[in-house]
């Protein structure tokens, strides 16, 4: 039957993307030396959980939905054209979610059928909600990854109404998990920070301010970085720093003294001193910081 594959359909159709929805996986490590950051899910822990809940490999591609607002329809038909069923999972920032108007559970596998419509409201806390579909999203990869990198322009474009994303075949059995409860993102974010590499570029008083202040995430924040507002950090030396390699989680301080916390789409090099770097294990939490949220930093190794 040569027309079999014409009838088989596995895709997600975007009806409305909300403020920003992108395809993300765990990114493309290994290209920094050519100027491309790893990118990938800003809250990687939530994406991997969503994938596990629907029996996908942890690094399968899903959607990163910023500020909710996504509406999408699943099309799942067998090669003979008959409707098929599948699963999806929603993790990360909790938000009201419905499938065909009925409430859908978060952090749990949700059974779906051909034609079902998913709708997400605004998150009640946090910023980014993750959607995994059983089989994973399979748009063409760039440099080995399907992640959308908003700084370098690598990977699929941010979603627009009418976009369709292919869904792959399930790679393994469904797990025997009904629900994976998680704590919601907090009202105040506390992140552990390693000082350096350029903490010696700042006044002692500014290092105390850095750990003592209650910072605020400004609205000028995105996947590249979170611009913070708080006490202006003062440099103890003048002159320019030659550009140097940057890591995700780096807190780079431009001349105005207001740090920028680099997230997943950060530039690979930067020319301002980095006062400290957020602990790797706290980066998924940093990926959930919404504009206006208060943030505190504490030195790695000190009690909460």
């Amino acid at each position: 039957m040569t027309h079999q594959n014409l009838l088989a359909v596995r895709e997600l159709e975007v009806i409305a993307p909300g403020p920003l929805a992108t395809v993300q996986d765990l990114g493309r490590p290994g290209w920094s030396h050519l100027g491309v950051s790893r990118s990938g899910a800003a809250d990687a822990a939530s994406l991997t959980l969503a994938n596990r809940l629907v029996g996908n490999p942890e690094d399968a591609a899903g959607l990163e939905v910023t500020f909710g607002g996504l509406r999408a329809r699943l099309r799942l038909r067998r090669p003979d054209g008959t409707p098929a069923t599948g699963y999806l999972a929603l993790t990360g920032a909790p938000c009201p979610a419905t499938v065909n108007g009925r409430p859908a559970a978060l952090d749990a596998p949700v059974p779906v059928s051909d034609g079902d419509e998913l709708a997400l409201g605004m998150p009640t806390s946090g910023l980014r909600t993750y959607l995994a579909v059983r089989g994973g999203l399979t748009p063409p990869p760039s440099l080995g990854s399907r992640a959308t990198d908003l700084l370098s322009g690598t990977g699929p474009a941010p979603l627009h109404a009418g976009a369709t994303l292919p869904v792959g075949e399930p790679a393994g059995p469904m797990p025997g998990v009904d629900h994976a409860p998680r704590s919601a993102p907090p009202a105040e974010f506390v992140l552990r920070v390693w000082l350096g590499p350029r903490d010696d570029w700042f006044e002692e008083a500014s290092l105390r301010d850095f750990f003592g202040a209650r910072w605020e995430a400004t609205s000028k924040s995105n996947r590249v970085g979170i611009r913070l507002s708080g006490p202006a950090l003062q440099r103890s030396r003048t002159g320019e720093l030659p550009a140097e390699g940057m890591v995700r989680g780096a807190l780079q301080v431009p001349p105005n003294g207001q740090p920028v916390l680099f997230l997943v789409d950060h530039p690979v090099t930067g020319g301002y001193p980095v006062i400290g770097v957020v602990h790797e294990d706290d980066l998924p939490l940093a990926g959930q910081i919404p504009p206006g949220a208060p943030i505190r930093f504490r030195p790695v190794g000190t009690p909460v």
Binding site: L34, L143, G153, E244, G245, G249, P267
Partner: protein, 215 residues
Amino acid sequence: MTTPLRGVRRAGSTALLAELADLDDVLALRAALERDRPVGVRELIAAARTLLVTYDPAVTGHDGLSRTLAERADALPAQGGAVTPSTDYDTLVVPVRYDGPDLADVAELTGLTVREVIERHTTPLYTVAFAGFAPGFGYLTGTDPVLRLPRRSEPRTAVPSGSVAVAGGFTGVYPRSSPGGWQLLGSTDAPLWQEDRTPPALLLPGRTVRFEETT
């Protein structure tokens, strides 16, 4: 013998920043680490005076890797010398239309005629020292000393794709339109970055490059 390593700084829980005296030492250490990569090292990101070494914290750690970097730096040949071109790639010839908006300013700044600026820029054999800033953007060493100019005091919000520029002792080519503060000498149609090509960049670290005037 003195080590070229000026210090090793922590950059969080998964990276170290090695500080070196100059770019030649940075590239020598990068080459040594590429030839024989220490266990757990993920990426090596060279810059003008630093080498960022990222690592898998499940495999290696700050103290052990710092010692390894110090040993490798100590073992580098005593004389630094110029950037060593890679023998892995042919010399890349980049055709350039010398029609950049800063060409007249550069002539005035350097006391050269426009024609002399073009000759000074097309004469040297350049080497891609490192990449960064944007996918496919390379920092090229070998620029004629007279063309080692500072960045513009007012960066442009949009530098056109393909712009060939100088600043801070380097020559670079903008692979796509982006903000930028370098002095724009001309432009090229060379496909600097193509994701479906292997490797995607033309300006690969270590590759030698010449600029050729075209009309």
